[in-house]
């Protein structure tokens, strides 16, 4: 899987995630998520390119969101594919990492 980190406007960190967050994918992406976890600000995880997610990947997301929140920041997930969104909501992750459908909705969440 691929993780691209982009510094957006207004200090927002945009993290473009693509591929499968399965066992192999999570292992490969761990350094990138560790970098995101060091963020103190607003983080948008662009999940439109994520094709698979299960509990191992969710653990990475929870750890990342906890680390960012502990420093006063926040994380949202942008535009996940239907099955990935179903998995996220099934596990209740949307209760700590809001799911948004657009960049504008992400901006509204952070405002």
């Amino acid at each position: 899987m691929k993780v691209e980190i982009v510094n957006g406007a207004d200090g927002v960190l945009i993290v473009i995630v693509a591929g499968r967050m399965d066992i192999a994918g999570v292992g490969a992406a761990e350094p990138s998520f560790n970098a995101v976890a060091a963020s103190r600000g607003k983080v948008i995880l662009d999940f439109s390119g994520v094709e698979f997610l299960a509990s191992l990947g969710m653990r990475t997301l929870v750890m990342t969101a906890k680390a960012v929140a502990s420093k006063g920041g926040g994380v949202v997930i942008l535009n996940p594919q239907a099955n990935v969104e179903k998995a996220l909501r099934t596990a209740g992750l949307d209760s700590i990492i809001p799911i948004v459908a657009s960049r504008e909705a992400a901006d509204r969440h952070f405002s």
Partner: protein, 146 residues
Amino acid sequence: MAAAERRTFVGVMSEVVATAQWLDELAARNELPGDAVFALQVCAEEILTNIVRHGGNPGPNIEVALNVSPERLELTIEDDGAPFDVTQAEPRRVSGDIATIEPGGLGVQLIHQFASALKYTRGPNGNRLQVTIELDPPAATAAARV
């Protein structure tokens, strides 16, 4: 697919990864729909990861079988590790304050959501879990062509 496809291995994480690739190949060969493949892969990753982590040391012997019919997928996972009945395990969801949440333990909830049915038996050779994933009618038509 007339007979079930089978894969046997010792429970280590690299074999869980290899099994996911094997399931993807079977899914492509059978032209299975994306929703069913997603459900299949979620269940396989959660169940096999659990066996590798908690089944014992050294890793248990595991056999995975996939049977494809026009109506449904049947994934059967047998292992000779520690007893574990996922059908009776308590599902867990994330809730509460993010500062105090402990990650992990979400797999049972995902299995219960994405499997259409689960059947567990414990026999003299160990655990046997049968996961059924129902196919919707358009997908059933595609599977019937194989």
